[in-house]
Amino acid sequence: MKNNLISKIGVFVVSYLLISCGNDDPTPDIDRDKDKLAKYALITRVANADQQTAAFYLQSLSSLEISGTVDNRDAEEVVPASGVGAYSHDGYVYINDYVGSRIQKWKLTAANKATLLGSVNVTELGYQGNILFKDTETAFVGGTSQSSIVIFNPTTMQKTGKIDFSAWSRLNEVTGFPATGTAINIESVTELLISGKYMYAALNYINDFASYTPATSACAIMVIDLEKVNVNSNDNSEAVLSIISDERASFAGSWNSGGGSYFMQKDENGDVYILCHNLWGNQRATFGKPAAILRIKSGMTEFDTGYYFDLESASKGNGNPVLNFEYYGNGKFLAAVQDPNAINPENPWSYYLDPIFQWWSFDLYSKSAERVSSQLTKGALSARCVFEGNNAYVPFETNEESYIMKINLGSMTSSKTFSTNGSPVLMGLE
């Protein structure tokens, strides 16, 4: 017994010594003010050892002008989940766990204290799409399982009502696309955008989600009259004005692609631009049409037939799908352009596992594009950008490292700023 005890003590001592052999890499000096909300939030996604879920680490940054590595040692472990988008509103961080069907609200201070303020369960939506915050009391989110949009109060994190669009439902309709007999099995609101009195909801009509097989080939947008929406009503079907579609391009919207990138943006004129993305390039051949941008002019409820922007031709050429719509003003935005040549044909999962995207900058008005960097990145995992002054802070993720690149949007010169431990989602909270 004595020997047994000694051996246990020995093992613990050795373990302690090994654990104590820590990484002495200097952590960047991050100034954290204890009295106010954080200026920036950094969320990193790290695959758990179970390889089925990921851990997400939330921490504050006071500046993006830092170098070295921002590791996760002093970050809050916020949620184990399979898929997450992150959003900011009114200085708070909202974690949208679309596989766990839960939205969490976090307060993050400049002193790097993270506090969970509440959560709302949206199991009935299936996989929920991107969140739209109207104001501090009203937010909207759609999903895959029901023909409705949930309304919740982002302050109290309680559901208050919904917008029922089942009267407009096309579920079970046989469309014959892409093959004879194909029907619409999934009708999902993936994201929303408000311009003026209208709320525009991107609709995806899908035959099979596991393979992302579409059931229609057009871009479809539901137009909702916000003035008719009672946030405390469980109906609001009267507020749905129409579903408009345009055959020139395919679907818009996503389920938190790139950590929460949007695919609909409005410019300074209130015009709504919609990035139609071929279901992230997965179904490029099925659609047979390029990733493109369509427009709905401010205050209108129809597509602008005079506007069409072929993103593929403007960037890497036809056949190179484009996703994520990081708008930075004056008609310009960054997006990730897929390079099909980067997909390893020997690995059936290369599309999901390898970096196969490059960042490009597009101009909505001149319909032109310019490559930001030749570095390949996992654009579907990490794509949220922060724009500050004339600079963009753009996430990159390869199989070897994750980091934030600072890009001068005037000269398109770039420099690596800081590395992260995990796929980064960077947000400005002010």
């Binding site: 050892a49 590791d71 809050e76 766990g100 199991t123 009935e124 023909s147 995990g422």
Partner: protein, 801 residues
């Protein structure tokens, strides 16, 4: 916090020098083998039927041997005047015989009388177990003879053994993952009577099989004898079927919490002149609703679906298992000591309460698996003891698994649901999932032991298997566009192993050197990036493994063992083919490889009051295959982890008096990453960090006390207490996140109590068990809570002659 790699020692170098030492030892000591007198003992029962597996000990010389299939055990003896033979076997009364130097040259015959049952003191290391345990591979052995009167399930029994942690994802029948010295998953293989369970269907797995069918559990850790024909990476759990030379009928029934019912019938009957023919039957039935309480689940509180946390019962987790196995055979033919035909059929019906995580419940998915197994077994040994023996077995197995998930509902944890437009709860599919998979496999196993010279034995073993997967998935065809099962997928595997066992200095040192070759060829579906069907892929692999184990008998009471093995595990059919429920195929997998080192010291007191061992182990493992989430609703096996493990375990069993025993064991294992993967899923920055979501310190304790007073109790009463402890561990990498915010699988101490009564005639018994007495919250995996306090009562009738 990262570990500094410079802190690590370099075991491969040690391993190399060990090899040189051992080979040198083999070459230099061969000539030292002595020529002495030999003694052969034949052990039979009342009916003159040979008893294999009996332990024959020569008390004065501290020598022991196990009788072979002919009931014979042989010894080489030096000069002596008189020795005492002690012959024993669990289930039989023991016999003593004094033999002097003038013993006759033919065999000494000893007759053992069979006992109906043997409750007595639980012998974690029984006498037969001791012998197996003292072989160079030093397996842990748990005899189930004394445990059958209690309602303990197989997984719980294995979990109490040193160095092992069985992690389950729920109640009865739930998926289990055996962790053994730092390796787990498919790296630890389960065998039943030398045949891998993956060929026979889940009914034989540890979460299903009834302990009443099993004689003993043998656990080989890292170092694996060639006769298993296994490509296991980290070890083997070998379940040895119950054998009896007497006619018997054993009937048992268990009822317990969560509407648990288990019934079993085990019997064997001999026929004909000299009891030459036999027939045996094992039947088992298990059912549980598994509707135990779990804490803090979100349940709806209004029509909008706002939720609050509440304690709820699992509501769709029922499990039913049925199995029947029949055997007919002949003993003692001129050309076969034992020839038998084994046929079994089984069915497992399961409700699926949730997927990998328990966040969102499922309310309707069900699976149904049935298997039909057949095998013909032949065994023959030489007339002269220990010259040679050979076994062959060939079998054909059919396993069909169907899974139905087509409900258009979204469930909450209170069992309520809302309708949804989609079909299926396990993912987002067009028409849900209805795969029906049929796995047909043929296997052939042969093993030959041959004595080259007095102290040198050779073992040559081979295991060949061919698996064919066919099936259909009507609902899933809309996902894959083409039924991936339309064309059969095949997996061919062949194993051949050769071992040389050498004994030196009169069995003071025993050494076994082994070489193994593994070959596989798969023909499996390949998918495109959009998950649609992309034809079939042919892949091959051919790998060599080798190892050496040494046992040094330091004294009569102390053994020292040292062993290493370079071992390979080839991807199995599930990893290559996927299951099309939520696992996609991956025909590009490469074999896992591991370099394993074990060393241990065992002490067995002459009076058998104390047995103990202390061991240390090291594993350097590459290309570990992990099920990894690829995208939403789809996972695939990938070669991901490269790990290094070191650790130690200690166990002691102390019996201060005949009717009291205390047993303790504890294991520490430090599993660290030593290389990142090529996909960036397990980044190199974690090199040196302890693998998360993996227990690293755990232990077990057990107390048994027996009251034997036939006059007072009209039988025997046995009290048992067991305790399982797991130290807390992080779900995610320890180096990430503030400790205060991290998800933790908490430290758990689970207490179990047992009491059983065996009547004086040993014809019937009653056993009562309370598991998790203090209703501790128990988890093996984060968010998947295990059952709280539960009670089981087992009644057993045993008739024997």
């Amino acid at each position: 916090m990262m570990l500094n790699h410079d802190c690590n020692f370099n075991p491969p170098r040690l391993y190399f020098f060990s090899l040189i030492f051992l080979f040198g030892g083999v070459l230099s000591t061969r000539s030292l083998a002595a020529q002495d007198n030999s003694l052969t003992v034949l052990v039979t029962d009342d009916n003159e039927v040979a008893i294999p597996g009996a332990i024959v000990e020569i008390v004065e010389l501290n020598l022991a041997s196990i009788t072979n299939e002919s009931g014979e055990a042989s010894f080489i003896l030096g000069q002596f005047q008189q020795v005492t033979l002690h012959v024993s076997l669990l289930g039989y009364g023991s016999e003593h015989r004094i033999v002097d130097s003038q013993f006759p040259q033919d065999r000494i015959k000893i007759i053992l009388k069979e006992k109906a049952t043997e409750l007595g003191v639980v012998t974690i290391q029984g006498s037969q177990s001791d012998l197996i345990r003292n072989t160079p591979y030093a397996p842990d052995v748990l005899s189930l003879d004394a445990i059958r009167s209690t309602p303990q399930p197989m997984a719980q029994l294995i979990n109490q053994m040193p160095g092992i942690r069985v992690r389950q994802s729920g109640g009865m029948g739930s998926q289990s993952n055996i962790m053994l010295h730092g390796l787990d998953g498919k790296g630890v293989r389960v065998f039943v009577d030398n045949i891998p369970v993956y060929l026979m269907g889940d009914a034989y797995n540890i979460n299903n099989i009834s302990p009443n069918m099993i004689d003993r559990i043998e656990v080989y850790k890292g170092l694996i004898p060639v006769q298993f024909g296994s490509d296991a990476l980290g070890g083997i759990i070998h379940l040895v079927s119950r054998k009896s030379n007497a006619d018997f009928l054993d009937v048992n029934y268990t009822v317990g919490s969560w509407n648990t019912h288990e019934a079993g019938l085990n019997s064997k009957k001999y026929f004909g002149v000299g009891r030459k023919y036999f027939a045996a039957m094992d039947v088992s039935y298990s059912h549980s609703d598994n509707n135990y309480w779990i804490k803090d689940r979100e349940v709806p509180i209004d029509e909008l679906g706002n939720t609050a946390l509440a304690d709820v019962r699992r509501f769709h987790d029922g499990y039913t298992s049925m199995m029947a196995r029949g055997q007919v055979g002949i003993n003692n033919l001129a050309w076969a000591n034992d020839l038998r035909l084994i046929i079994s059929a089984s069915q497992i019906m399961r409700e699926w309460q949730h997927g990998f995580s328990a966040d969102i419940p499922w309310g309707q998915p069900v699976s149904d698996q049935w298997s039909v197994n057949s095998a013909l077994s032949w065994m023959k040994s030489s007339k002269k003891p220990d010259q040679w023996d050979a076994t062959m077995m060939a079998g054909f197995n059919l396993t069909e698994l169907s899974f139905v998930d087509t409900a258009s509902r979204t469930y909450f944890w209170d069992g309520s649901f809302v309708p949804k437009s989609l079909k299926g709860e396990s993912g987002i599919y067009a028409d849900g999932r209805t795969p029906i998979l049929l796995n047909k496999n043929f296997f052939y196993r042969a093993s030959l032991n041959y004595s080259l010279a007095k102290n040198y034995r050779l073992n040559l073993s081979t295991l060949t298997s061919f698996e064919r997967l066919v099936g259909e998935d009507k609902a899933g065809a809309s996902t894959y566009k083409e039924d991936p099962f339309k064309t059969p997928q095949d997996l061919f595997k062949n194993y051949i192993g050769l071992a040389l066992e050498s004994e030196f200095f009169g069995e003071v040192i025993t050494n076994i050197f082994s070489v193994k070759h593994f070959y596989s060829h798969s023909y499996a579906v390949n998918l495109k990036a959009d998950k649609t069907f992309n034809g079939y892929l042919n892949t091959f692999s051919s790998d060599i493994g080798f190892g050496d184990v040494l046992r040094w008998r330091l004294s009569k009471a102390i053994n020292y063992t040292l062993g290493f093995e370079y071992t390979v595990r080839q991807p199995d059919s599930q990893e290559v083919f996927g299951d099309y429920i939520n696992i996609g195929p991956n025909p590009t997998l490469v074999p896992e490889k591991s370099r394993n080192i074990n060393t241990s010291i065992q002490y067995n007191a002459a009076d058998k009051k104390i047995t103990s061992s202390i061991s240390a182990f090291y594993r350097n493992t590459s290309d570990r295959i992990f099920l990894s989430a690829i995208s939403t609703g789809l996972s695939s096996f990938l070669n991901l982890l490269n790990t290094e493990t070191y650790g130690g375990e200690a166990d002691v069993t102390y019996s201060p008096m005949k009717n009291f025993m205390i047993s303790l064991n504890s294991t520490f294992q430090n599993i660290t990453l030593n290389k990142g993967d090529s996909y960036g899923k397990v980044p190199g920055r974690y090199i040196g960090a302890r693998l998360p979501n993996t227990p690293y310190f755990f232990g077990n304790g057990r107390l048994d006390y027996t009251l034997q007073d036939p006059e007072k109790f009209k039988g025997t009463i046995q009290f048992g207490y067991s305790f399982n402890y797991i130290h807390e561990f992080f779900r995610a990498w320890a180096v990430d996140g503030r400790a205060s915010s991290k998800e933790v699988i908490p430290a758990q101490g689970i207490n179990n109590l047992m009491i059983s009564y065996l009547n004086g005639s040993e014809r019937w018994s009653l056993g009562l068990e309370c598991r998790n007495v203090f209703n501790e919250e128990a988890y093996d995996n984060f968010s998947v809570q295990k059952a709280g306090r539960s009670i089981y009562l087992k009644a057993r009738i045993l008739l024997s002659k």
